[in-house]
């Protein structure tokens, strides 16, 4: 009501400020005249009367100014004076202010930093035109004789969809690959995307310079579109680079376009290339040699307006099996969901963790403010009696929590800003970020929103409590018995909640850490120490061989590189392999056909991960040859074809028959078969969390084209060999780009990037949570001790021993801790399902982990209540009683 009246006054003054002023002027003048008149009536001359009135009046202008001030009183001005007052109050309690601001800064900082990642990965739209209309098409792939869901499609399917569907504006297909290249002078290794000419228009992206591919998907076209990065680094941002040629895999290609600087390729599958692609080449150039009918291609389509994802999917599902004559199930998923599917759950869990942490921080502040309330009841009552309205009091109190949160928020934002930088550096390389992880407007808005929510949440209750019943406090002005049982119970409930949440966070962190430890203690099946490797690619390893080269030359080159490697001092052994372990994109699944007289009969399809290796490779990485023999230099193109299979391949396909001597043909039963001559130990060559695949190794002299890696074993620190290796390998052929020198240990470390990142973040939040919780408990128990000092004095005077007092107080803290841990345990068990997919060989209800977390929380909380308990036990009864 009064609010409406106030608004009315405000409106009138705003509409006609002159009139309001004139009115005030008239009023003041009338007052003045009346005083003058009075003086005249007392017998003064008009002149004297005016002078007397003026003396009495303290100046009409000052009066008017003060009236204007009074009118302003309910707006900005009060806010400032409230803030000044609040800051003064906080300055008087620097300890309280410091702890509160620090807790808030940590809570807000952590939430802001994690939100900035969530924002960049999950919330920000993909950087394409109308990204919500983009879908990713996936199909099923024949694996182990069954059709299993894959994220890929065949190019023949794409062609059929293009011809027949009515739901898509366009469909673009692409594939990830990498090539040796020469841009300018330097031989390098480039990450490339094989793309058709519909891909960029489907995404709604146009080259910044030049043009898109023109040719159809079946014609070879020696054109490439380079990334902005490659253009600016290797081509010095030269606009004349359009039309220049580069050497890609030994063939000459013409640069026809440059991608925009902010272009990001949709990273549909994290297991391919985490690096940003350097260039796009026409998919037709590799389509035939890679196999149009193998499901290894990706497809992105743009839905027509008014066609929903479900409609389009229904249509594709209906006619795809008809065209392909195979029981293929096609699925559509929104492109943004598809690109983030792998990280969505863990990121949301982390975000949840940070929000809970903030919640704990909030309850902490609330508890601290509540605990301070009794000390302030007198002050509040006096303010109330001096005419402050309830609203005014609440606002004053809220200003205090707002001041705390603003200080905490500024500090938190700064903290979040630096944390964001740290997080980005620690984040796994393939985090599908749209744009950059940074503090943008939405992160800022988020921080602002959580600050406001925090201030209201933490401050409103204590403020209402004080402001609504200032009088009830007065009866006990100065006494310590404030609030009564209900209040104490509420405060305890708050603390128990806090402990429960803190326990849940710590349990999550412990589970993730436990899982990480489990993961890193997996026996990889190969030696991790003293093994160094590097990759190389010989031009012409894909597509038609460039003139003047032959497969024989490739193989000779590899042999010479191996020999050069073996001559480097310190190298004990060296071997060739397609992909060094562990490698997420290791090898390719190939069907082999059993052409021997195996138990399952001739012609059976066997699925294996295919790798090419040399003699001594197994020795170098410490994988045992369990039966049979290793490759030798005699396993060459002229000799009978041989193969080594992994233990699991042998077990899976030759369970009832001796695998040695069996013959298998790759791709087609009519291809010349290879005889199995050895069985090698299993290895986790796709990462520690992935079970070893059934693998077939073929000798490089019989099957390789120029791409692969060389592994070498040494006693010396592996990194010290790199310069010498580089030099000797370059002597063999300076046009072969040699890249990616890594130790096996380093490679294993990298495969753990993601679980380590999550464990680290959750761990940091968990530890902060425990810190906050112990601070909260410490505050509550200290408060209760200070409130009960006289009672403790009486007890001691009556003969209670110090240990018994200590026990009493400790028990109070312990009860809260036990209740809190029990509730937290229930909470963790209820929420355990969401963690399942993030954990490796650890159950989300793992008793040992939960017990450890419980023990830690109990220990810390016990310690937090021990400090005030000891203080209580040292109370001098004489002093305590004199206080009464």
């Amino acid at each position: 009501m009064s609010f409406i009246i106030r608004a009315k006054h405000l409106y009138h003054r705003w509409r006609d400020p002159d009139r309001a002023d004139a009115d005030l002027d008239a009023e003041v003048r009338s007052y003045f005249e009346e005083i003058v008149e009075r003086h005249i009536a007392r017998g003064l001359t008009p002149e004297e009367a005016r002078r007397a009135a003026r003396l009495q009046f303290e100046g009409p202008e000052q009066v008017k100014a003060r009236v204007r001030e009074a009118r302003m009183a309910n707006s900005l001005e009060t806010a400032f004076s409230d803030a000044r007052y609040a800051l003064r109050t906080l300055r008087k309690n620097p300890g309280f202010a410091f702890v509160a601001v620090l807790v808030l800064a940590l809570g807000i900082g952590a939430a802001t930093a994690i939100f900035s990642i969530v924002n960049a990965v999950l919330l920000r739209p993909l950087p394409y035109r109308n990204p919500d209309r983009l879908v990713s098409i996936s199909s099923t792939v024949l694996q182990g004789g069954r059709f299993v869901p894959a994220r890929t499609v065949t190019l023949n399917e794409v062609e059929a969809w293009r011809r027949l569907n009515g739901s898509f504006e366009s469909i673009g297909s692409f594939v990830f690959t990498a090539f040796p290249a020469v841009v300018g002078e330097q031989p390098t290794h480039l990450v490339a995307i094989g793309a058709d000419r519909e891909l960029l228009p489907t995404l709604g992206v146009e080259p910044a310079l030049g043009r898109n591919f023109a040719g159809s998907t079946s014609l070879q076209d020696p054109s490439v579109i380079v990334s902005h990065k490659l253009w600016s680094q290797a081509l010095h941002s030269d606009p004349a680079a359009i039309g220049r040629s580069i050497l890609l895999d030994g063939s000459r290609c013409t640069i026809i376009g440059v991608l925009p600087a902010d272009f990001q390729f949709p990273r549909s599958d994290v297991s391919y290339f985490p690096e940003d692609p350097d260039l796009l080449l026409p998919i037709a150039n590799i389509a035939d040699s890679w196999g149009r009918d193998s499901a290894q291609w990706f497809a992105i389509a743009r839905l027509k307006p008014h066609v929903s994802l479900a409609q389009a999917e229904a249509e594709l599902k209906a006619f795809t099996p008809r065209i392909t004559k195979q029981p293929i199930k096609t699925r559509l998923s929104a492109l943004d969901a598809e690109t983030t599917s792998a990280v969505r759950t863990p990121l949301l869990i982390l975000f949840g963790v940070s929000v809970v942490l903030l919640l704990i921080a909030c309850t902490n502040i609330m508890n601290l403010l509540l605990a301070r309330a009794p000390g302030r009841s007198g002050e509040i009552a006096i303010r109330a009696s001096a005419g402050a309205t309830r609203w005014r009091l609440i606002r004053q109190m809220l200003t205090e929590s707002f001041c705390l949160t603003i200080l905490g928020g500024i500090l938190g934002l700064a903290l979040g800003w630096s944390l964001t930088g740290l997080l980005v550096r620690a984040a796994p390389a393939h985090l599908p970020v749209s744009g950059r992880v940074n503090i943008d407007l939405s992160v800022f808005g988020f921080a602002f929103a959580i600050c406001t929510a925090t201030a209201l949440f933490a401050g409103l209750l204590p403020a209402m409590r004080l402001a609504l019943h200032p009088w009830s406090l007065l009866g006990s002005l100065g006494s310590r018995d404030f609030g009564g049982r209900a209040f104490t119970r509420f405060q305890h409930a708050l603390t128990v909640t806090q402990i429960a949440l803190g326990f849940a966070l710590l349990a999550t962190a412990s589970l993730l850490t436990h899982s990480l430890l489990r993961l890193s203690s997996v026996n990889p099946g190969f030696q991790t120490e003293g093994v160094l490797g590097f990759e190389f690619s010989i031009p012409g390893f894909s597509g038609p061989l460039p003139p003047g080269t032959s497969l024989a030359k490739h193989r000779q080159l590899i042999q010479r590189m191996l020999e050069a490697t073996r001559t480097v001092p310190g190298v004990q052994s060296a071997g060739f392999v397609t992909f060094l372990p562990p490698e997420t994109r290791s090898g390719a699944f190939v069907s082999f056909f059993n052409v021997g007289q195996g138990a399952q009969g001739a012609g059976t399809r066997l699925f294996g991960n295919s790798q090419v290796a040399s003699e001594d490779y197994f020795k170098t990485v410490g994988v045992p040859i369990l039966r049979g023999r290793d490759f030798t230099s005699a396993d060459n193109a002229e000799a009978p074809q041989v193969a080594i299979v992994s233990e699991s391949f042998a077990r899976r396909y030759f369970a009832n028959v001796d695998p040695l001597g069996q013959r298998i043909s790759p791709f087609d039963p009519r291809n010349p078969p290879s005889e199995i001559v050895g069985i090698a130990g299993d290895m986790h060559d796709r990462g520690l969390s992935v079970n070893p695949f059934a693998t077939v190794y073929l000798p490089y002299r019989q099957s390789v084209r120029g791409y692969g890696s060389i592994a070498l074993r040494t006693d010396l620190p592996p990194e010290t060999l790199i310069p010498e290796l580089r030099a000797r390998v370059a002597q063999v052929d300076s046009t072969v780009p040699v890249t990616n020198f890594t130790t096996i240990q380093g490679r294993i470390h990298r495969t753990l990037d993601e679980p380590r990142f999550y464990a680290l973040l959750a761990g940091a939040c968990g530890l902060m949570a425990v810190l906050f919780v112990s601070l909260g408990l410490y505050g509550v128990v200290s408060y209760s001790v200070s409130r009960r000092t006289p009672e403790i004095g009486v007890r001691m005077a009556l003969g209670a021993s110090r240990p018994s007092i200590l026990g009493r107080v400790l028990r109070q803290g312990l009860w809260m801790a036990v209740f809190g841990v029990a509730a937290g345990m229930a909470l963790s068990l209820a929420a355990s399902k969401i963690l399942v997919n993030l954990l490796f060989q650890v159950k989300p209800n793992d008793p040992a982990t939960l017990a450890l977390a419980a023990a830690l929380v109990l220990a810390v909380t016990l310690f937090a209540s021990f400090i005030p308990a000891r203080r209580a036990s040292r109370v001098d009864p004489v002093v305590a009683l004199r206080h009464e």
């Binding site: 009064s2 106030r6 009023e27 007052y31 009346e34 003060r66 009236v67 009118r71 002005l477």
Partner: protein
């Protein structure tokens, strides 16, 4: 002008509301009345009276209207609004509590 007693802001509001509860008055009238009733303990100058009046009006507890004095000059007369009447009752109750409490505290020392 000598100040007879330090006036708390809330107290002045209370005094003005109480004064206007009897009849609408203009500025000088209110000051006179308060001085009279408190037997000269509180002398209200225009420097505190005007801001108080406008603050109360702002809150909707009193309302000002121009009228004529006996002398024929115009002056602004203030009257209590229904809101103001409620407020006065509340303030009275509060004041009694404060007075009692403060008395107790003072008595206890």
């Amino acid at each position: 002008m000598p100040k007879s007693a330090e006036l708390l802001q809330g107290t002045l509001d209370l005094l003005i509301l109480r004064t206007l509860a009897l009849a609408p008055l203009h500025g000088v009238g209110i000051a006179d009345r308060i001085q009279q009733v408190t037997k000269g303990v509180f002398v209200i100058g225009p420097g505190s009276l005007f801001p108080a009046l406008h603050r109360l009006e702002e809150r909707g507890w009193i309302e000002g209207q121009w009228g004529d004095l006996e002398s024929g000059r115009r002056a602004k007369f203030y009257a209590l609004t229904p809101e103001g009447k409620k407020r006065l009752a509340e303030e009275k109750r509060n004041w009694r509590k404060v007075a009692t409490a403060v008395d107790q505290v003072l008595g206890g020392v």
